[in-house]
């Protein structure tokens, strides 16, 4: 965790003249798990889309791996980052073909990796099943396997367990934690669940109205927050 993967400087994103994300400065460190918490509409998901280069910022700079990203993003850069969204958007195909999709896009051979990653998420016996016939938790595990099999440098998770039961939440958290430790993957997690942030993250940031109120090491964020709004959020008070 000694060098930043992302350096965000005066980053703004507007939709129809309304600023939804407005970050003065944020560095995201290689290999860390950064959790972003905050109420709906705080700009967290927009930030993830910016980090995945799915949208262009209205103003400001994204520096990725030391390279300022302007305009069109090189495919090789784009392919280092991927997102697992809240809803597992699966293709109308088998579990195996869904997981193999990212490898095929890259022209890579689909050998044992798909089987290995399916085994890791506990779905190896369902490899030939139609993906859209699985349960919600299984589908999200397919989506996670599909992201992990391409071994991204950065994994963005947009409330990946929002609609899941505790069993599947536990499984997904274990897989993310294990992958982060083994592969050194940088993880940015957007979650409403402060307990999940506490369990998974090295650092936690609170976003309100598009702005980053505070970002701190997880224990500091929860036990000794420097901003009263963070303290209120951590207590479970209503914070907007």
């Amino acid at each position: 965790m000694n060098e930043p993967v992302y350096q965000l400087q005066d980053l703004k994103k507007e939709y129809a003249g309304r600023i939804v994300t407005d970050l003065e400065c944020l560095d995201i460190w290689r290999g860390e798990v950064l959790a972003l918490v905050g109420p709906s509409g705080a700009g967290k998901s927009t930030l993830l889309r910016l980090l995945n280069f799915l949208e262009h910022p209205t103003a400001g700079r994204i520096i990725y791996q030391g390279q300022a990203i302007n305009g069109s993003v090189p495919l090789a850069v784009r392919r280092q980052v991927t997102t697992v969204f809240q809803r597992p958007m699966l293709l109308k195909a088998s579990v195996h073909d869904n997981v193999a999709y990212g490898l095929r896009l890259r022209g890579q051979r689909v050998d044992g990796q798909v089987h290995d990653i399916l085994a890791r998420v506990g779905l190896e016996l369902l490899a030939r099943s139609a993906a859209h016939k699985l349960s919600g938790g299984e589908m999200q595990r397919v989506a996670l396997a599909r992201a992990l099999v391409i071994d991204p440098a950065v994994l963005l998770l947009d409330e990946p367990t929002a609609n899941l039961d505790p069993y599947n939440i536990g499984l997904i958290e274990d897989i993310v934690r294990q992958h982060n430790r083994e592969r050194g993957t940088t993880v940015v997690l957007v979650t409403h669940n402060v307990f999940q942030a506490r369990r998974l993250a090295d650092r936690v940031g609170l976003m309100l109205s598009g702005r980053l109120v505070e970002v701190a090491d997880t224990h500091m964020f929860f036990d000794a927050p420097s901003d009263p709004r963070t303290a209120a959020f951590v207590r479970g008070d209503m914070v907007y």
Binding site: N52, V81, T83, M89, L91, Y101, A147
Partner: protein, 200 residues
């Protein structure tokens, strides 16, 4: 003839519909309105235009296609084309924007993303082909006009039914009608079965 017209309209219409569905360009609303109008185009009007174009004094008269199966294929293709294009466009547009975003987030290029979306829309594309097939196999006005209903040459089931009804051969007309219905049913069943498999 119906099969050839269907193949031509699919080969031209499905990719064009997909491109329109995937693109954003000025005047797209106008193109959409044109396609929807084309989907409701009265076949007999198509027949009239094709007749005028292929008639001896028409711009395509020198081809000598009037009252030949080629003229019927042209008319049926024109009837089917807006259906394959319009319904393909709609099915491509109906693929979830979230899925499109996910495909790009997984590292797809523009071409790879377009192909994936077209594959996702394949049930709608099949429905477009089924609708086009239904539109042209049951059509009588245009093929009667441009084909001339010549026995052994341009007479098809629908025009034969018309002729036999006019001459009082009701049992033959009914039998041909049942054959036409059975053919339409079998073709649709085959496509729906294919659609079901694709959905699994």
């Amino acid at each position: 003839m119906t099969g050839i017209a269907l193949i031509i309209s699919t080969i031209i219409g499905a990719p064009l519909g997909a491109v329109i569905g995937l693109s954003k360009f000025p005047g797209k609303g106008f193109v959409r309105a044109l396609l929807y109008t084309g989907m409701g185009l009265p076949p007999v009007v198509v027949g009239l235009f094709v007749y005028l174009a292929l008639s001896r004094s028409g711009p395509l008269g020198p081809l000598g296609w009037l009252f030949t199966p080629r003229a019927m294929i042209v008319a049926q293709t024109i009837i089917a084309l807006p259906l394959t294009m319009g319904l393909t466009m709609t099915s491509v547009e109906s693929v979830s924007p979230e899925l499109k975003r996910q495909i790009v987030a997984l590292g797809a290029t523009r071409a790879q993303a377009a192909w994936a979306i077209l594959r996702e829309a394949r049930i709608g594309v099949t429905a477009a082909i089924v609708a086009a097939f239904g539109g042209i196999i049951s059509e009588v006005g245009a093929v009667m006009l441009v084909g001339g209903n010549i026995e052994g040459k341009t007479r098809v089931l629908t025009t034969a039914i018309v002729l036999n009804t006019r001459t009082g051969e009701f049992s033959l007309a009914l039998a041909l009608g049942i054959i036409l219905l059975a053919l339409a049913f079998l073709a649709n069943a085959a496509m729906l079965r294919l659609q079901g498999r694709m959905n699994d």
